[in-house]
Symmetry: C2
Subunit: 127 residues, 2 copies
DNA sequence: GGAAAATTTGCGAATGACTTGCAAATTTTT
DNA sequence: AAAAATTTGCAAGTCATTCGCAAATTTTCC
């Protein structure tokens, strides 16, 4: 595992919030080329050490957000995104296996991935 | 309501599958400029007559898909997307109001939107 | 009904996230 | 530690989507 790879994985692991490739590329403590960041995020996701979703927010446009996914942090997570302060709230581990299994049976398809997230205004921003 | 607007809304209404702006722009029977298509899809969504979600598929890249949303077609729908044949399967009306209300209570945020869809291989493509 | 005001359209150029080709640098193999 | 394989940085490219602006259409008002 290369230096860049390790650094990017560590950054993901350390971040409480999902982050974009751009955020990581601009992080002074990392300072890897954006192409390298993009490539390594792909790599880490393929390995199952990261998970991502694409989110559009009026202020920041459409971007893919990554978060760490390790044995220690449980499985697939879902998030709420505040459109005012742009913070994410972790809704916890995904609890939809059962429902998805039911759908697979009903429609006879095979689910390889699912996307779920919420957007709105968080408690702090409402006040 | 302008001619373009009407035509685009009709196209959405007529389509069984969610469609992208590009698909509509390239439809010979419509032949409106892409900027017009994009602008009117935004308009229709703001009015609540269309709904959309962003989906990334390896073959077609990242695009926003729109579908009709009228009194006659029920409320918010969710979809399964087959990564082989690129067809969508309508999973029916969204049944998550309760769960989302529970989340709003638990976290004290206000949900303005939610995104949910599945990707995988459909029945026909497995065979 | 028709002229003025307001909105929308088409065109071309711009934006911004993400990707790619390629030579140099690093990592892995042996 | 040299050869082989992979990864990196850079610069240029791609592609969905947006924007500015003048011309065309739609709406408003008399």
């Amino acid at each position: 595992m290369t230096k860049a790879r390790k650094a990017i994985l560590e950054a993901l692991k350390a971040s409480v919030q999902p982050v974009t490739a751009m955020m990581l590329a601009k992080e002074p403590s990392l300072s890897y080329d954006q192409a390298t960041v993009y490539r390594n995020l792909h790599y880490l996701e393929e390995l199952g050490m990261a998970q991502s979703f694409i989110l559009h927010c009026t202020e920041h446009g459409t971007e893919r957000y990554y978060s760490y996914r390790g044995a220690d942090c449980g499985i697939h997570h879902h998030w709420f995104h505040c459109e005012k302060c742009h913070r994410f709230i972790d809704l916890g581990s995904c609890g939809y296996d059962e429902q998805m299994h039911a759908w697979e049976k009903k429609w006879d398809f095979t689910i390889t991935d699912h996307t779920f997230f919420l957007t709105g205004i968080c408690s702090a921003c409402k006040a």
